[in-house]
Symmetry: C2
Subunit: 281 residues, 2 copies
């Protein structure tokens, strides 16, 4: 198959590298940055870079752009995609994407599948993309308005390049759970960095501090888009966390040893159960 | 030197293993659990296990017990330690320890130094102790009521077994910063696990979720002690985090894109500056 990756950043670049290195498919790329295009070809991530009007030769197109840019690209190039071809995307939110793109895809006879590879780094851009970024990661596929054959094609590619597992779900469920497992983590990490005590931390840190603040370094523009397109679900998770943290705060204010112990034990039991469910304990 | 480790759990066991494997000192152990004593000797973590009334033969004693147990042990055995010998501890809070132990140490002619090795695991007990647990970790030494020679001895041992750096400070500063870099992380992780969404997380997780919840699995009894003995500082950090999180929550509730972007950028800039300060960016 000919597979074109649109947007050769961290995610698109990693897809291109993995597909080129690990499959027999022909991989093309599209990017607006001439430097990226040059590097992607030189490093063998793609066989060549093409223009949007070459998309009709591509059996599968992977959209690896931020939400608004992706929607804009799809709207602008709807007529360029191969009729009956498969297009899937990588956006961290799915409801808003599918609402916008699916009707147009249907109109133009394109098989669109909303996907979300669960991997990332605290760095963006092609330079940080890795052939093995998705190794052992979960690949989420949403079935809303998608045909079974297209879903199979997309899942097959994900397996070919080394994803650890496939999670099939719908866009609403995806967005609700992702608000907790990913978006909330970015809100917490961003907030955690804001204590004035951070200036005195040198020599006082072990793994837990590194873990808490790692994703505080983020692409603010991208994450603002993702948060705005999932504001309801995320707001609820932040509210819930604030409520839970307030219980610890109150117990501390009251020097309530029994309550502090109860709260910590409760959290520990939930975490232990969750590890057991995954056979990790 | 003869060095006795009191309490052969995760931390004490790791000290014993590192000292035995990496230095020429003679390492003895004290533990109340006969199984642990047996394993520690069999595995060569200690040359032998002794009783508290053998402590007077020990040039250095490492106390690796939870706060209250440590204070109790020291009070009970103050007369057993070698006069002029060095005793240091590993507790995660320092003010309360030094307030209780230093006056007794002075009375009995013992050189006590409050220390805190910045390493841990989500598991406790001798079985999880590791010779290399402290590799590259920070070793914090507090100077309150400690004589320079004893501090030098303790720092020398820390270097000998492979700690990555030594941080010399005082107990108040230690407790204030540790409330942020370590204790708050445990409060957040414990709280983070409590969203009902955790039951649906399978297939939706990448690194950020794992990082956020890792230390939610904790020894509730130990951490309750640590929190109670540093409740003021920790309460302030939790309050501060709740205040910061509430800003994101309000911006989300108002769908205020500009404010979400500002908050994320602010967090990113702080994290980036903090990485630059450490020469990690």
């Amino acid at each position: 198959m000919i597979i074109t990756v649109v947007g050769l950043g961290l995610i698109g670049g990693s897809f291109a590298k993995a597909l080129s290195a690990r499959t027999k498919h022909t991989v093309w790329g599209i990017d607006t940055n001439p430097d990226t295009v040059k590097k992607a070809v030189e490093q063998g991530a793609v066989k060549k870079c093409v223009l949007p009007n070459d998309l009709n030769k591509s059996d599968v197109v992977i959209l690896a752009l931020p939400p608004h840019a992706e929607i804009e690209f799809f709207e602008k190039n709807a007529d360029n995609f191969k009729k009956g071809g498969v297009v899937f995307d990588c956006c961290g939110i799915k409801r808003a994407i599918i609402e916008k793109i699916s009707p147009i895809a249907k109109q133009y006879g394109i098989n669109f599948v909303g996907a979300h590879p669960m991997a990332g780094r605290e760095f963006s851009g092609f330079d940080y993309s890795l052939e093995n970024l998705f190794d052992k990661a979960s690949f989420i596929v949403t079935t809303d308005n998608a045909c079974d054959e297209a879903v199979d094609t997309v899942c097959g590619l994900a397996k070919e390049i080394g994803f650890g597992g496939i999670k099939v779900t719908d866009a609403n469920h995806h967005d609700r759970v992702i608000a907790y497992t990913s978006q909330l983590a970015h809100v917490v990490s961003s907030s955690y960095c804001k204590s004035p005590t951070i200036d005195e931390k040198e020599g006082f840190c072990a793994g837990s501090f590194a873990d808490m603040t790692r994703v505080g370094k983020l692409d603010a523009k991208l994450w603002t888009e993702l948060f705005m397109l999932n504001a309801d679900d995320l707001q609820q998770e932040v509210e819930n966390l604030v409520k839970n943290l307030t219980e610890y705060k109150n117990a501390l204010a009251q020097r309530n040893e029994k309550e502090i112990s109860r709260l910590l034990k409760e959290g520990n039991d939930i975490k232990v159960n969750s590890l057991k469910k995954e056979n990790r304990l």
